[in-house]
């Protein structure tokens, strides 16, 4: 057998195997998460190896949402995420437009600043912000957290939007200008409607960052239970012995589900937006 046909046969069998392994390794933990969340803790302790519960229960979800306060945590997370998305878009749309279209002093340096912010270690920022919020008595307030999330997402969103704005033909804008549109109304009435996919992707990216973030939520909110986010709530309750693991697994599902839904509703948009720069290097 020639080397070529040997390799072809090898890869014909190897490829499905690799795909299967990847699928199991990524899907199984989440399947396990859901399965644990709908069974009784007694059953788990008696028979930890079984995957399919003998009886399904939703008490875990009732418990985690009401008794453990996850409804409040969900509300906090939702407020933070929605506000972050709104302000991120509000700030990055004009910024991205300026970088894409207008020649101004410092335009080249702006890229460098964004790259630096994107790569900047959060743990260094955490210290002064922790001190500042302690001094201002802002610990426990959601506003500070939202500010941090905006600052962390804006560099990336400006970059994503800029790439897209550059594809909007300049002639359309010029036509609008001749029709008497000012710069702002050109953005509002011409550029934004043409950029809906990019706006969606950007908003979803901001939503994911704000919903999933942990370090700053831990630093700013830990002392006030009623302002915990879902992430923080889960991490804080995970250590206690009184709350059964199955109930916390229900909490994990509650934390994961919104982001998975949002992501898959928009997967193509989001991955194209994020990897668009990859081709450039």
């Amino acid at each position: 057998m020639s080397r070529d046909s040997f390799e072809r046969i090898l890869f014909r069998y190897l490829k499905p195997l690799v795909i299967l392994v990847l699928f199991v390794v990524t899907a199984f933990p989440f399947f396990y998460m859901v399965m644990l969340s709908v069974r009784d803790i007694q059953e788990l302790i008696l028979d930890p190896g079984s995957l399919w519960p003998s009886s399904f229960t939703l008490d875990t979800y009732v418990n985690v949402l009401t008794r453990q306060g996850f409804l409040t945590f969900m509300r906090n997370s939702a407020i933070i995420a929605v506000a972050s998305v709104a302000f991120t878009l509000l700030i990055s749309i004009p910024g991205a437009y300026a970088v894409a279209r207008l020649r101004f002093f410092g335009r080249r340096q702006v890229h460098f600043l964004f790259l630096a912010v994107y790569l900047f270690p959060a743990i260094v920022l955490a210290i002064p912000l922790f001190v500042l919020f302690t001094m201002l008595g802002l610990r426990g307030s959601l506003v500070g957290l939202i500010l941090v999330y905006i600052a962390q997402t804006v560099p990336v969103t400006v970059y994503m939007l800029r790439n897209y704005f550059e594809t909007v033909p300049q002639s359309v804008e010029e036509a609008a200008a001749i029709d008497g549109c000012t710069r702002l109304s050109t953005i509002w009435r011409v550029v934004l409607p043409l950029s809906k996919p990019a706006l969606m992707a950007t908003g979803l990216y901001a939503f994911m960052i704000a919903w999933n973030e942990f370090l700053f939520a831990l630093l700013f909110l830990v002392e006030r239970r009623d302002s915990w986010t879902v992430s923080l709530g889960l991490s804080q309750l995970a250590g206690s012995i009184e709350i059964p693991t199955t109930v916390l697994m229900a909490g994990s599902v509650v934390l994961t589900l919104p982001i998975v839904i949002v992501f898959f509703a928009s997967e193509r948009l989001l991955t194209e937006g994020l990897t668009a720069g990859a081709e450039k290097g």
């Binding site: 390799e7 930890p48 804006v154 991490s235 693991t245 998975v260 991955t271 990859a278």
Partner: protein, 304 residues
């Protein structure tokens, strides 16, 4: 608008106005805090006396000497390096394999792709807790498959095939690879799909075997994206806090510098030492980046 300004000047002004919200928020929340962190690192700042620490405070190098001589610092730096290099390399290699395997269409590709991306998009708290539960020695599913239960996350050393291995450190590295290979997968797949098909076809015609095509046709076109991914993943992992903190709390030989920074800040209330440690971490990172750019500067120059 006819105040004598040229169109070019107007455009410049409009540009600055439109970009200013972005600049202000990054200045206020990123740049100023960074400068402040550097100041704090050179002062004796604790949470109790923080109001007395000002711009004109007593600058000393005490925090740095203290931090470096404190037991555990060097081992945490070594841990950070091992964790980062192994995590980065593994996540990129697995991402590359995944991208190559999922390159062509097959039945169920959408489902598999979706499944592969979940570890990356799911909240870190949820997946860390999920791993903790799966690896639990009492009721975790993984241990019921093993002959002898292993305390993956709380055991510093163990024996595997007669060799001493750092169990917990390997586990957090595996977690890192599992959680971030989708990131590499996405970027490599995007690059693969943008490659012109003709080269590959020509190689087939010339009788190149699949491994030869990979070695001589595909890989040369992927090096740049892999180099970029290496930098990105290295930077992100080197200063990563959540993953290790949530999995082990820094115990069992997994303490990385960022977790130490957090502990100095919250458990010891020693802001100065915490900041000094964070600055050391950032400086080490910058040194690695500069070394990297020196070695690979040829590829970077053609970008602009």
């Amino acid at each position: 608008m006819s105040t004598g300004r040229t169109l070019r000047q107007q455009e410049g002004r409009a540009g600055l106005v439109l970009i200013s919200p972005t600049l202000i928020i990054t200045l206020v929340v990123v740049v100023v805090p960074l400068l402040w962190a550097i100041m704090l690192a050179f002062q004796d700042a604790r949470l109790i006396n923080i109001r007395r620490v000002g711009i004109f405070g007593n600058y000393t190098l005490e925090n740095f000497t203290y931090v470096i001589s404190e037991p555990g610092f060097w081992s945490s730096l070594v841990n950070t390096l091992v964790y980062t290099v192994a995590g980065t390399a593994l996540s990129i290699v697995i991402g590359l394999v995944a991208a190559l395997a999922l390159r062509d269409k097959f039945a169920g590709r959408t489902l598999v792709r979706a499944s592969i991306l979940i570890p990356y998009v799911a909240p870190v708290v949820a997946v860390a807790f999920l791993w903790e539960t799966m690896l639990n020695p009492q009721y975790g599913i993984v241990n019921t498959w093993l002959r002898e239960p292993i305390a993956f996350l709380t055991q510093a050393r163990g024996e595997f095939l007669g060799i001493q291995v750092p169990v917990a450190l390997l586990t957090v590295i595996a977690f890192e690879a599992w959680r971030y290979f989708p990131f590499a997968f996405l970027f490599i797949l995007a690059r693969l799909q943008a490659l012109p098909a003709e080269l590959d076809e020509a190689a087939v015609v010339d009788g190149a075997t699949p491994t030869q095509r990979f070695r001589y046709v595909i890989m040369p076109q992927l090096w740049r994206i892999i180099a970029l991914l290496s930098v990105l993943r290295f930077v992100f992992t080197f200063t990563k806090f959540d993953d290790v903190y949530l999995l082990t709390g820094g115990g069992a030989g997994t303490e990385v510098v960022s977790v130490r920074v957090y502990n100095f800040l919250t458990a010891r209330d020693d802001i100065g030492a915490s900041a000094a440690q964070a600055i050391v971490l950032a400086v080490v990172l910058v040194v690695f980046l500069i070394l990297y750019l020196r070695f690979f500067s040829g590829g970077e120059r053609e970008q602009e």
